[in-house]
Symmetry: C2
Subunit: 118 residues, 2 copies
């Protein structure tokens, strides 16, 4: 870990909700959740926004305590802070992700990599 992250008890509910209230960031979180445990780098999200803009949104997610970003070489490995979020706000992340899955207005997650290694 290298970049500044809030500790678990510094995570604030209104900030988490506001951060997840942005469609781009919600899509990022859904994608991370669908690949739970697999650290992803920013390039995985380039279909969602420009590189600069992604940097901005990923920083927001990190600063809110929703994701963890670890610098590895020139990459940032990004993971969901599921354990910490579950500890701090039990059930919240699960219900948000489940809700996103049933909101027909939101795009299906992970559509852009249809069996890449088939």
């Amino acid at each position: 870990m290298s970049l500044p992250h809030p500790t678990t008890d510094q995570i604030s509910l209104p900030i988490v909700l506001a951060v997840l209230g942005d469609p781009t960031r919600l899509a990022i979180v859904r994608y991370l959740a669908s690949k739970e445990g697999v650290p992803l780098n920013c390039s995985k999200f380039l279909d969602l926004a420009s590189k600069t803009n992604l940097s901005y949104h990923l920083a927001k997610l990190r600063e809110a305590g929703v994701t963890r970003s670890e610098a590895v070489g020139t990459s940032r490995l990004i993971t969901l802070r599921r354990d910490d979020l579950d500890k701090r706000f039990p059930g919240l992340l699960d219900s948000v992700i489940a809700a996103a899955g049933t909101d027909p207005a939101l795009p299906a997650v992970g559509v852009s990599e249809v069996e890449v290694s088939a």
Copy 2:
């Protein structure tokens, strides 16, 4: 009912999250949840914001589908749309309200009316 409300399936997750991400509105929702079933009028929230500003925030909550506002005389009776939210996004409202209860950065709810009729 008189003012425009979205139907249950028009309720959008990012909009609900963004609306609940504002501290004033989150406080309103927590208060409504603590008085579940009792319709409240705007004056109950005057400690949270000015009258004009409340009108704005209550309209946001209504337009997002979080609350229902019914015009009765010169009052608006405001209730949580718990049934609809639970149907649309199961568990979401509960986990948000529970999370708000355990976030020490948020004020305790319903403090300003300490047994009014004691």
